[in-house]
Symmetry: C2
Amino acid sequence: MSVVPDRGFPVEEFESRTKRAQQMLAERRLDAMLVCTEPEVRYLTGFHTPFWQSPTRPWFVVLPVDGKPIAVIPAIGASSMTATWIDDVRTWPAPRPVDDGLELLADTLAEVADRLVDPSGRIGLPMGHETHVRMPLSDLDALRDRIAPTVFVDATDVVRSLRMVKSPREVQKVAHICDVVSGAFEGLGDLLSTGMTEREAFAAFRIDLLRRGADDVPYLVGASGPGFDDIIRQPSDREIRTGDLLMFDTGSIFDGYSSDFDRYVAFGQADDDARRAYETVWAATEAGLTAVLPGATTSDLWRAMAEVLDGGGPASGSLGNSVGRLGHGLGMQVTEWPSNTADDGTMLVEGMVMTLEPSLTWAPGRMMVHEENLVVRADGPELLSRRAPAELPILG
Amino acid sequence: MSVVPDRGFPVEEFESRTKRAQQMLAERRLDAMLVCTEPEVRYLTGFHTPFWQSPTRPWFVVLPVDGKPIAVIPAIGASSMTATWIDDVRTWPAPRPVDDGLELLADTLAEVADRLVDPSGRIGLPMGHETHVRMPLSDLDALRDRIAPTVFVDATDVVRSLRMVKSPREVQKVAHICDVVSGAFEGLGDLLSTGMTEREAFAAFRIDLLRRGADDVPYLVGASGPGFDDIIRQPSDREIRTGDLLMFDTGSIFDGYSSDFDRYVAFGQADDDARRAYETVWAATEAGLTAVLPGATTSDLWRAMAEVLDGGGPASGSLGNSVGRLGHGLGMQVTEWPSNTADDGTMLVEGMVMTLEPSLTWAPGRMMVHEENLVVRADGPELLSRRAPAELPILG
């Protein structure tokens, strides 16, 4: 069991993030960047609350090209935001549908929008792949009109570049939750048995993860049966029987950072096709691991894994039509940029936290997915999840 | 302990939702409605997975003015979506940044966009208060260009009207999780003691909720101390001491439906100001309850509670500047339309599930929030949470 890392981050971590972001803003001739989604706001400020689950209120952070970030938020968040390293916290009494922060935000953007070369002002806003703007579209349209001639410019690459490479403290948090989850997966034999329903198994596993030190288990999917191809499922009242496979996949959380890996087990016995499928995705992961090096690309990882999967039966044809990739980035969210696909081509650099996630369809309607979590080091991958057994574990 | 309700919904529930929605679409001369957020997709289809936590892939459901909803989704969701009542499931191999479903969605919208009066086509899209469009903004802009002269028209009132009034089966699910949470709150005295840290208290409470039958506890905030005004906080390593107040507020889940209420307790003793504050917000809730009747409005509830709070000390001045409302709707999300505010004015009808949530600042930096959950019945409120004690409970 790893030592529990410190909670939160020292101010210098946020200063470093801000400085890197501002360098990119300057390079792109952006006066500022606007973010309004939970991970981006947390990344820049440290503001950390599950209150984002309430859809009622929008939240904004404006990062000028110099100076500290400015929070433009509902008054209900003032106390929490003031406790972060942010000094400039501007609030309005949300919810106020007639003006839910728009005027305050527009005024703030006007303040920061004329510092650089273009006199009309250019504000970065993430609007590309894996992003969305978390505010009512009618308000966004009104905001665009209101700030004209200042324009929003896509800044996806800024937040993508920032968040994709993790600091040592971020890696520690992911490593810790991966350690907790590894222990829980290794203990499945003590927790589960035939006769339990899927729902009982899920509940037992979730509670076990919390007992072992997960803060929360927001992502838990799984299935049981002789085989299954729905890998994002909630539990049913189906009873686990001898000969079943069971899969759990969890994004558990420590201090706002996520694990994301799965494990398969069989109860009593497993048929040869299932064993072979397991061994193929395990071997594909091995191949992926050997390809992990700074300077290699996500497409190199994809190719290394796909080659093994292509040799493993009727896998290759179905790959592109199911999960769509063979792993991805990991950190504040259960999936993050980049994707291990044939044409993603993102270059790996030290500090990137990734999953390898080969999958194959081993019989009609039966999928096998294997996943490990790692951080890219100078000399190759450092596993954050403890490596799954090379053969399908048989419980009971 | 209530009987555990059935999971899921029979097809007629989705048929009824669809029919109500289509009636509103026809009244508004809309050819179809596009939704892309988790609650709306789940409401129309029954598609239920935590996979939405992954920001990578957009998901779409198109509801034509007649016929069944059409799912336009990543292939990874095909198996789950096909298991719902939806027949027409169109998939693409996401993630595919170069075209992440846009062409498929545009083609689907073109199919459904010329059925009504306006030959150019009008597609409803929720774009008002409490909504956002969950897809990359650059894709949304491209989609708007692509479907022209067909236009998106705000359809917030359609989903708002639909979701605000709950069916008996929906009410049962909220009632069940409120029952589970009520039991856990009533058992706090056995669970918590001075010397525990907030973090330990949170973990114990979360595990207790799961043991009592919550599927998950996605929303849990709280604080401890002689007083506090941050009511959306995560736990710290602060030790609970004699004389402390402790607040937990949880949105726990049963079958995709949420509770949302809090409780305060004191350890060993409580000072008179804290007791008085507790009694004031309790009395404000009583006043709110007497105002709950079909035909009354959310603003009537607000006024009934505000009048008591105004008599309760230095409360009134700070109200509008903190939480911003005195309760709200509840159901698939921890907060939903409508809001109990001075000017919201939404008329209550039978089947609406609401929270009453009066709050006051009883000393500088010290807030007291009280919350109950109810369903509007013909003759008044039916409490779903078990009523909090009239006096601040003292533990230990």
